[in-house]
Symmetry: C2
Subunit: 348 residues, 2 copies
DNA sequence: GTGAAAGCGCTAACAC
DNA sequence: GTGTTAGCGCTTTCAC
C-alpha cells in the first residue's frame, strides 16, 4: 500500500509547531495568530496538502459520501435523475457512490446487506420492481438518513420524492379522450409498485370521469421495457373482443414498444390507434410517429432528492417530507387522430 | 453526528477479551482458537457488526472506493460502460464514486483539484472533449493508479482501454463502399480527441484504399450530439458542389441527426443517401429507417477498465496496458441502396 | 495563542 | 493463543 499523502504532521514538522496548531490554522479557528495561520496556509498550499478523508471520517463520524441505490442507469429517466443527484451532491461537497440493482430484489437485498454503511452519511433509494417486503430497508433507515425517489415504498417512513403519477396519468388519458379516442387501454409495470398503482388509478379515474369503460380487462401489467410494451400491445389486440383505439403506456419505452407492435400489425398510429407515454425520453422525438407523453422532471427529482437527503444529514431531527413534482403534457403525432398519413415521407 | 455503529470494542467487552483477539477472529487469522473465534463470530453476527470503513481506510491506506470521471451518463454508451464498471467493482468489493464533468474541461479541472484522492484507491477516466492539456492529470497519475477509457490521452502514460476506432471506421466505410456509395462524407467530433482522429484515419484510409476521393472538405468536426449531427449534415449539403451520397457519423446520435436532416431535405435515406453510425445505441433500431452502425463493446470496455484498474491497485508494479476491443458491423436499412421504398409502411 | 494528550476503530508488532 | 501497545491522520479537550 504505497499511498502516502502530505499530512498535518508534515506541515507541523516543517514549521516546528504542533499538529494541533496546524489543524486549527487550517480550519480557520479563531484562537490562532494571524502570522501562524498564514505560514501554515502557505506551506499547506506549497506542499499541496489535502486532508485525509478516512481520518476525518473516523473522527467526525461523517464521510461526505452518499449512496445511491437504483435499478438501472441505462435509460433516460434514471441517468438524468443521477445527473441531478451528482450535481447537487458535488456542489455541497459530497460524493455519490453508485449501486445498481439491475431491478433484481435479490441483488437489492444482497447489496443492502453488504454495503458498508459506515462509509455513507446517507442513502438515496429507488426500489427495484419486485421488492416484496421492505424489511431489509427498515434496518438501514434506523441507522442512516434515507430518502426514496421515483419508486417509493408505501409502508416505510422517510422522505419521498416522486413525480405526480396520478395526475400525470389523468392528464395523459384526458388528452387521449380530448383527441377523440374512446376505448383506451393501459400497458403498465409491475402491479405491486406504488408508482404503477398511482398511474393506474389516474387512468381509471379519468375514464370514469368521462363515462368511458374502465376495466382491468384492458390493462396489462408487466415490466418497463420496450419489448414488454410490444408484447402487452399484442396481447391486448389478441384478447380483447373490442380492440382499443388508444393505449396509455406507463413509460415511453413501453409506448415505443406499442408503436412498433401497432406498426407491425399494419395499424396507423395516431390516426387509427393513439399512443401516449410517460417520461419524455428523447426517443419519443425519434420514433415515427413521434410519441406524445407526460414530461417528467427527472433532473429535478434527482436534485430535490439529494437536497432533502443533505437536509436530513445536516439536521437529523428534520421531519420526513413527501414531495410531488408535477409533469407536463407533450402533444405529438402519436395522438393526432386528424392528420392524414397518405404521404409516408412525413414520418420517415 | 449521531452515527454510531457496533465496534470490535463492543464485542471485546461483551466477551471479556481483547480487541486484538476480536480483530484476529474476525479476519480468520490462524493463531486464534476455534472456540474463541466461534464466540466472536456469533456475537458479531448477533450484534450485526460491520467493520468501520474509515478506520480500515486509515490503517490500511485503502478505502475500496474507486473514482470514475466521465463526461456524461445520459447516453447509451456511457451509461452502459458505467454499468460494466460498477458490476465489476462490486464483485470485487469496491465501490464506485461517480464524477460527471458535463464534458466541460473547466469542471474536469476543478473536479480533479477538489476530489479527495485519499478517499480513492484508483481512478477511471474518460476525458472531456476539449481537454487541451493533460497536466492536471499528471499529478493524479503520480499519486494514484489511473486507467483511461474511450476518450484517452495520447500523451500520458497509463493503461488505456478503447474500442477499435480505426478498424471500426474502416469497416463502416468499406461497408458503405460495398453497398455502392461513392461520395462518402464524415461528420465527427472535436478534432483534438484521439478517438476522433482514429476514426477519421480509418475513414480516410478506407477511401484511399478503394480509390475514392478522400478530402477534408467532406469532413465536419463538431460535438457528439444529435443536433450537431443535424447541423453538420446541412452544412455538408450546403457547402459541397457535389453532394455526398453517404455519411459516416462518428456515433449513432449524430447518425440519427443526419437521418433527420436528410428526411427534412426530402432525401430518401438508404436509397439516395446512405448513413452509418458507430455505437449500436438502441436508438438506431428505433429510427426510420433503422441505422446501420458499428457495435461497440460498451459493457466490456467498462468491465475491462475496472479489472485493469483493480489489477494496478492490487499489484502496483503492474505495467500499463493498452487494450483495444473490436466492434462489429451491424447492417440495417440506412445503408440499403437497393431496396425500393414504395411501401413506406415497411419503415414506419 | 499554543502544545500535550486522548481518542475515533482498527491492525500489527511484540510480548508472554 | 491472547493481551498490550503503538500508530494510521485528525480533532478536541485541557493545560499553560
Amino acid at each position: 500500500m504505497p499511498k502516502r499523502f502530505i499530512t498535518i504532521k508534515d506541515i507541523a514538522r516543517e514549521l516546528k509547531i504542533s499538529v494541533a496548531t496546524v489543524s486549527r490554522a487550517l480550519r480557520n479557528t479563531y484562537d490562532v495568530s494571524q502570522e501562524t495561520r498564514e505560514k501554515v496556509l502557505s506551506t499547506a498550499a506549497r506542499l499541496n496538502y489535502r486532508p485525509n478523508a478516512s481520518a476525518l471520517g473516523l473522527v467526525q463520524r461523517q464521510t461526505h459520501n452518499i449512496g445511491v441505490i437504483i435499478p438501472s442507469i441505462t435509460n433516460y429517466y434514471f441517468s438524468t435523475v443521477i445527473t441531478g443527484i451528482q450535481e447537487c451532491a458535488i456542489k455541497q461537497g459530497y460524493n455519490i457512490i453508485l449501486y445498481i440493482t439491475n431491478d433484481l430484489p435479490e441483488i437489492e437485498k444482497k447489496l443492502l446487506h453488504e454495503i458498508s454503511l459506515s462509509n455513507l452519511d446517507g442513502i438515496l433509494v429507488c426500489l427495484s420492481s419486485q421488492s416484496g417486503s421492505f424489511s431489509h430497508f427498515q434496518k438501514i433507515i434506523d441507522d442512516l438518513p434515507c430518502v426514496f425517489f421515483d419508486r417509493v415504498p408505501d409502508s416505510l417512513e422517510g422522505s419521498k420524492i416522486v413525480q405526480d403519477d396520478y395526475n400525470g396519468a389523468m392528464m395523459a388519458v384526458e388528452h387521449l379522450i380530448a383527441c377523440g379516442y374512446q376505448r383506451i387501454a393501459h400497458i403498465t409495470g409491475p402491479e405491486n409498485l406504488l408508482l404503477t398503482r398511482k398511474r393506474l388509478n389516474g387512468y381509471l379515474d379519468a375514464l370514469e370521469k368521462h363515462n368511458l369503460r374502465a376495466s382491468y380487462e384492458q390493462v396489462r401489467f408487466s415490466g418497463f421495457s420496450q419489448k414488454e410494451g410490444e408484447n402487452d400491445t399484442i396481447s391486448l389486440f389478441k384478447d380483447l373482443d373490442q380492440t382499443p383505439d388508444a393505449i396509455f403506456a406507463v413509460n415511453d419505452r413501453k409506448g415505443v414498444g406499442a408503436i412498433i407492435s401497432l406498426r407491425n400489425m399494419g395499424i396507423a398510429v395516431g390516426k387509427e390507434v393513439g399512443v401516449i407515454g410517460f417520461t419524455n425520453d428523447p426517443i419519443s422525438e425519434i420514433i415515427s410517429p413521434r410519441l406524445s407523453t407526460i414530461a417528467e422532471p427527472a433532473y429535478e427529482i434527482g436534485k430535490m432528492s439529494c437536497e432533502i437527503l443533505l437536509g436530513h444529514i445536516k439536521k437529523p431531527e428534520t421531519k420526513p417530507q413527501e414531495i410531488i413534482l408535477s409533469g407536463d403534457l407533450v402533444k405529438r403525432e402519436s395522438t393526432m387522430k386528424g392528420i392524414e398519413v397518405t404521404d409516408c415521407r412525413k414520418f420517415l
